[in-house]
């Protein structure tokens, strides 16, 4: 090896090292970075918000990881992320574990759709509270059960003439713990005493019957793939995958389909100061029954430097950002609520 070659190699190494060091210092100096993690349901919306926001605010880098509501709460409590996100509000037990109070801000509204795959069915299936809980409890096992026929008189012929192997109901549920399951089982516990006593409501429960699939996309695939199946998914997944959506009977006694208008009807304008409000099983007319807020979790002891970056982003999401919700099949917050959340963020900044 000649001297020249050695020299050249060292020179290359030196330049590389300098470049690496330089890029580190530039990265640290110019951008303020925030890390968040949590719920997977609002992930597409949050990442859209972040990318749009960063276009106009180039000095900000926000990174959101979709790791699930439960993990999001855990990471906020451990302080490994700057902010978290969860589909269901934190439990009182979780609040006790927090070093400083965690503020929960509703960002958007989600609805859960009961989807089914019954070959040859032309019209929407309608389900009342009793039927829905009994199907998931496994006490109704066939699509031509007299109780189902009684509620769907128009579909009587189609349901009774199903092929034999399509007649059996296979229920599909989430096998991973999820905020979606928490909302759905909360609703079932709300409408059925039997469900409440036998199964209960949680992010994962012991399902009496049915198949488990991982994630909204897994449940979607399983429903599409299994004739005679019924399951629950987030509205976004049902819409983008063209799943059939069942009409559900609400508290007012109407059969309502999960349209954005009907979901908005479930949202009450009087929201308490901590924003913890169940939208499930709304008494309002025309309201779709399985609706819930999804929350951003912000620790109140967040360093001012970080808060001064996060707060404007949250405010932007609640104002301009809500316009992007509909494009992605999310339901925007009513203005009265988003204004209240913006005020809360301003309060946090003054602390």
């Amino acid at each position: 090896m000649t001297f020249n070659m050695i020299f050249r190699q060292q020179w290359v190494a030196f330049v590389t090292l300098a470049a690496v060091l330089l890029s580190f210092s530039v990265g640290a100096g110019a951008k303020s970075t925030l890390t968040g993690a949590g719920a997977s349901f609002p992930y597409p919306l949050y990442s859209k918000w972040i990318s749009e926001y960063q276009k106009t605010n180039t000095g900000v880098a926000i990174n959101y990881q979709s790791i699930g509501s439960g993990a999001g709460v855990r990471q906020v409590l451990q302080g490994t992320v700057d902010f978290g996100a969860s589909d269901s509000p934190m439990t009182s037990e979780e609040h006790q574990k927090a070093k400083a109070p965690v503020v929960q801000l509703p960002m958007t509204i989600g609805a859960i759709v009961v989807s089914y795959n019954i070959p040859g069915l032309t019209q929407e299936l309608s389900l009342d509270q009793e039927l829905l809980s009994e199907i998931f409890l496994g006490t109704i096992t066939k699509w031509d059960d007299p109780k189902i026929l009684a509620i769907n008189p128009d579909l009587k012929l189609e349901l009774t003439s199903l092929k034999k192997r399509h007649k059996f109901i296979s229920t599909v549920h989430r096998s991973d713990g999820s905020g979606t399951t928490a909302v759905f089982t909360n609703y079932l516990s709300d409408i059925s005493e039997n469900w409440k006593a036998k199964v209960g409501a949680a992010k994962s429960v012991k399902w009496p019957v049915g198949l488990g699939a991982k994630g909204n996309e897994g449940v979607t695939g399983m429903i599409k793939n299994t004739p005679g199946s019924i399951g629950y998914v987030e509205l976004t997944y049902a819409l983008t995958n063209n799943l059939k959506k069942a009409k559900l009977k609400n508290k007012a006694g109407e059969f309502v389909s999960p349209e954005i208008v009907n979901i908005q009807k479930a949202v009450s304008e009087n929201i308490p100061d901590d924003f913890i409000l169940s939208l499930l099983n709304s008494e309002k007319e025309g309201a779709y029954p399985i609706v819930a807020f999804t929350y951003l979790l912000v620790p109140s002891d967040m360093p001012t430097g970080k808060l001064s970056v996060l707060a404007p982003f949250i405010k932007w999401s609640l104002e301009e950002g809500q316009g992007l919700s509909k494009q992605l099949h999310y339901v925007p917050l009513p203005t009265s609520i988003s204004e209240k959340v913006v005020n809360k963020v301003s309060e946090l900044q003054q602390l």
């Binding site: 699930g68 991973d176 713990g177 994962s204």
Partner: protein
């Protein structure tokens, strides 16, 4: 050109190698220790009953590992039943029978199977294999063998059978490539001797190749088993994810690895986390026993053949 300070590099290199060698051992011990430590609350709570209890209720915080141990062991075992004969067949065909221009591409394709990510196997399983099993294989099996408990119940496609078939496809390349190595390690003179004594092709394969490579085939099988035990993503997508113990291969089930993938991210109570870690410990123990066995058998075989 010799470096003047060569012996220093020798020494550094030696320490580096020693460190690399030990580092994995330390990491493994550290993992085992921390997993054991984190799963202690579960064992304190339910004792060894944890291994045999069939209940897994997150809401009521009552945890038992038996359905998952059962699911893991049965799905892996059935996949071995399917994969081992095929793998041996593939290896024999490529090494002993096929002309070179066929053997090469087949060997290449089999090895390519090993490079497919497991999520692809899972999706293929869910969208292609499951409907096929549901509409053709399972109705046929239940028509002919419906009286056996293994093939009873409604054919829904998703379940133990689908998981076993997907696993079998995934472990075939592992087993067959090791089998090929094993067959290739047998000296040609043995085969020539068998043929020279008037053995037919089949007798030659049986006596000269298969018989003497039995320990090697066993080692290959155990390595395949190790992969099947730990497979997560593909299994999760087709097994149906239900914690139950049913004899029927049509019924949905759940494995340990798949349970961890499903529930760990959203587990927020300490009892749940600890129970999941305990499941991880079970999996760890089974996997370690299997790879130790594999190592033992392969070592023995080498001693027998090469005399060292």
């Amino acid at each position: 050109m010799k470096k003047p300070s060569g012996h220093h590099f020798d020494q550094i290199f030696f320490y580096f190698l020693r460190l690399s060698g030990w580092s994995l051992v330390i990491v493994l011990l550290f993992m085992m220790g921390s997993i054991f430590w984190m799963s202690l609350p579960t064992f304190k709570n339910s004792g060894l009953g944890f291994f045999v209890s069939q209940n897994w209720d997150v809401f009521k915080e009552d945890f038992g590992a038996w359905p998952f141990i059962y699911g893991t062991v049965v799905s892996s075992f059935v996949s071995l039943l399917l994969a081992v004969p095929v793998s041996i067949g593939v290896a024999l065909f490529i090494n002993e029978l096929a002309p070179r221009w066929i053997a090469k591409p087949i060997g290449f394709f089999v090895e390519m199977l090993a490079a497919i990510p497991s999520i692809v196997f899972g999706l293929w399983g869910l969208y292609v294999l499951v409907p096929f099993l549901r509409d053709y294989v399972q109705p046929g099996l239940s028509l002919v063998f419906g009286w056996l408990p293994f093939f009873s119940g409604p054919p829904i496609g998703v379940g133990m059978m689908a998981a076993s078939v997907v696993l079998a496809i995934m472990i075939t390349p592992t087993i067959s490539s090791i089998c090929r190595e094993v067959f290739a390690s047998i000296p040609h003179s043995t085969r020539e001797a068998a043929l020279g004594l008037g053995a037919t092709r089949w007798e030659c394969l049986k006596l000269a190749v298969l018989k003497s490579s039995f320990p090697g085939i066993l080692g290959a099988t155990l390595l395949g088993l190790g992969r099947a035990l730990g497979e997560t993503m593909a299994v999760t997508m087709v097994i149906g994810n239900v914690a139950q113990v049913k004899a029927s291969l049509f019924a949905p089930a759940q494995t340990m690895a798949s349970l961890l993938a499903n529930e760990y991210a959203e587990a927020n109570s300490d009892a749940h986390l600890s129970a999941l870690t305990a499941i991880g410990l079970c999996l760890f123990i089974i996997a370690i026993i299997m790879s130790l066995l594999a190592q033992l058998v392969v070592d023995r075989f080498h001693k027998k053949v090469h005399g060292r």
